[in-house]
């Protein structure tokens, strides 16, 4: 049985910052991630990020991942275990994980869950044809492994993810036929929209996909305009030739690991789905279990980093590492509030109201 003071599950921006914050207070930390490299979503983001200097604004996601993971690896209080999938957390506090095909157990005094979010899927006819991808898979292929997903892509969803993946596809030389969005307005930032528009990509709002077609794989899609009750409007059918349909229809928090412990959750569409209830220190209803980042409610890397700091500091504080805790906590909390002040964070603010203890 392995032991550690604080275990952090997930090595994205939230998890890496949790580990760094807890270690900076003096705690011994073990950081587990199922991937072969740290960074979570950041390792696929080749574009420059928003936020302020404290969240590396203007740096590219891939570069932020590198900066943070270097800090984590250089920290002697943090043990990093990559290729380590956490399988379960039991009532007696034992955590099990698989690392390089070996089953291992670990106990800890505090746990921070920073497992990120899972992509949502969309139901339409023939959505199981090869060529229908989630945006995450397109990014993994293209940006991590250097493989083009196809030649002509139709993107479903004009939130930030759909817009950014469209831009990355264009950079890779792939043609983006259109981005379609069911809502009457695009959900992503206007600046992301504008840079796609400048490339001549049509963005069709109030449109949805009816079906994909193709013999062996995707050859095209039938889309149409929808009304306010999401029904297709007669006579608006359009046929788009495409060999890839890329779904960017949202994410939902990934906290399955905590369900068996019986934590209180709430269905909050504004946070992406089932979200854990937590206090301002990000401790859930199970004492000693903290959440941070997208698994606590789908947001941004900038807020994930600030939440990671809070969860790491708080977990360390609970086991006696109290160095200027209140001051550090307040600084991070205030900065997080500032990030969430804008109109684009309106839904997040409303959602957080429903899960705060």
């Amino acid at each position: 049985m392995l032991t550690t003071e604080i275990v952090v599950i997930g090595g994205g921006p939230a998890g890496m910052n949790s580990a760094l914050a807890a270690a900076s207070q003096g705690a011994e930390v073990t950081l587990l991630d199922r991937n072969w490299e740290l960074g979570g979503q950041l390792v696929k983001q080749t574009h420059k990020f928003f936020g302020s200097e404290n969240q590396f604004a203007g740096e590219r996601g891939i570069d932020i991942a590198e900066i943070l993971s270097e800090r984590v690896h250089d920290n002697s209080r943090i043990t990093v275990r990559k290729n380590s999938s956490v399988l379960g957390i039991y009532h007696d506090g034992v955590l099990t994980f698989e690392q390089d095909d070996k089953y291992k157990k670990l106990t800890s005094r505090q746990t921070v869950v920073a497992t990120g979010a899972a992509e949502k899927f969309l139901s339409f006819t023939n959505n199981d044809l090869p060529g229908v991808y989630g945006a995450g898979a397109v990014q993994t292929l293209m940006n991590q492994q250097g493989v083009l997903p196809g030649k002509n892509v139709l993107i479903i969803g004009a939130g930030n993810i759909g817009l950014i993946v469209a831009y990355q596809l264009l950079q890779a030389g792939v043609s983006v036929e259109a981005i379609i969005e069911a809502l009457p307005e695009i959900g992503g930032y206007e600046v992301h929209r504008d840079k796609i528009k400048r490339m001549g990509v049509p963005i069709l709002t109030s449109h949805s996909i009816k079906k994909a077609y193709g013999e062996e794989r995707v050859e095209g899609a039938i889309i149409g305009e929808i009304d306010s009750s999401w029904s297709f409007i007669d006579g608006t059918k359009k046929d788009f030739k495409a060999d890839v349909i890329c779904l960017a229809v949202g994410l939902s928090p990934l906290i399955d690991l905590l369900h068996p412990l019986g934590l209180e959750i709430s269905y909050v569409p504004n946070l992406g789905g089932l979200a854990p209830k937590r206090d301002e220190y990000l401790e859930t209803t199970i004492s000693g279990y903290f959440v941070a980042g997208d698994c606590a409610g789908v947001e941004e890397a900038s807020s994930a980093m600030m939440e990671g700091n809070i969860a790491g500091l708080s977990a360390a504080n609970s086991i006696g590492y109290k160095k200027s805790f209140q001051e550090k906590f307040r600084n991070n909390r205030d900065e997080l509030r500032k990030l969430r002040e804008g109109e684009t964070a309106k839904e997040v603010r409303a959602g957080l109201g429903e899960v705060r203890l």
Partner: protein, 165 residues
């Protein structure tokens, strides 16, 4: 080119542009960023303190008296929304500086297609120079020579295939 003006183009002519006198004095930056998002590299990158943005979610405002047209913000803005305009280049032509993140890069002196905010072809334009600043130079900052009348229209370029077989 006869298409209806976009919201930005309409508002630009009204209140977002510097005064006529300032426009005749030299280059100035335009931050085409009109939505409140949590972001501020335009402010932190500006060496003259020309950009103000009270809280991180505010939209940026450029003080045209302080702006030196140095192009730093064009390179730093993650939204690729900052441009530098120089209407004093010559009687017929002006300069538009845009951020560019595509390969292959054009060469200085090369003819490229000038595109508007919707990606429509406006006019052939000439690349004057290509700079890189922060970010290990990954975002190139390209200045093109455009006809005076297209200075508030051209916001993107496209390589012409015949130049890059």
């Amino acid at each position: 080119m006869t298409e209806e003006k976009t919201e930005i183009e309409r508002s630009l002519t009204d209140d977002l542009l510097p005064s006529v006198e300032r426009r005749k004095e030299g280059p100035y930056a335009l931050c085409e960023c009109h939505q409140r998002i949590p972001c501020n590299p335009c402010l932190t990158s500006c060496p003259t303190g020309a950009v103000s943005l009270d809280s991180i979610n505010d939209t940026p405002e450029v003080d045209f008296d302080k702006c030196a047209g140095c192009k730093q913000c064009v390179s730093a803005c993650p939204g690729l929304a900052c441009f530098v305009i120089d209407e004093t280049y010559s009687t017929d032509s002006a300069l538009v500086t845009i951020p560019y993140e595509f390969l292959p890069l054009p060469e200085e002196g090369e003819t490229v297609n000038g595109l508007d905010r919707k990606g429509n072809f406006v006019k052939e334009v000439t690349v004057k120079n290509i700079d890189s600043f922060s970010d290990n130079g990954k975002t190139k900052v390209i200045t093109v020579i455009v006809p005076q009348e297209a200075v508030h229209q051209i916001r993107n370029i496209e390589i012409r295939e015949e130049n890059h077989g």
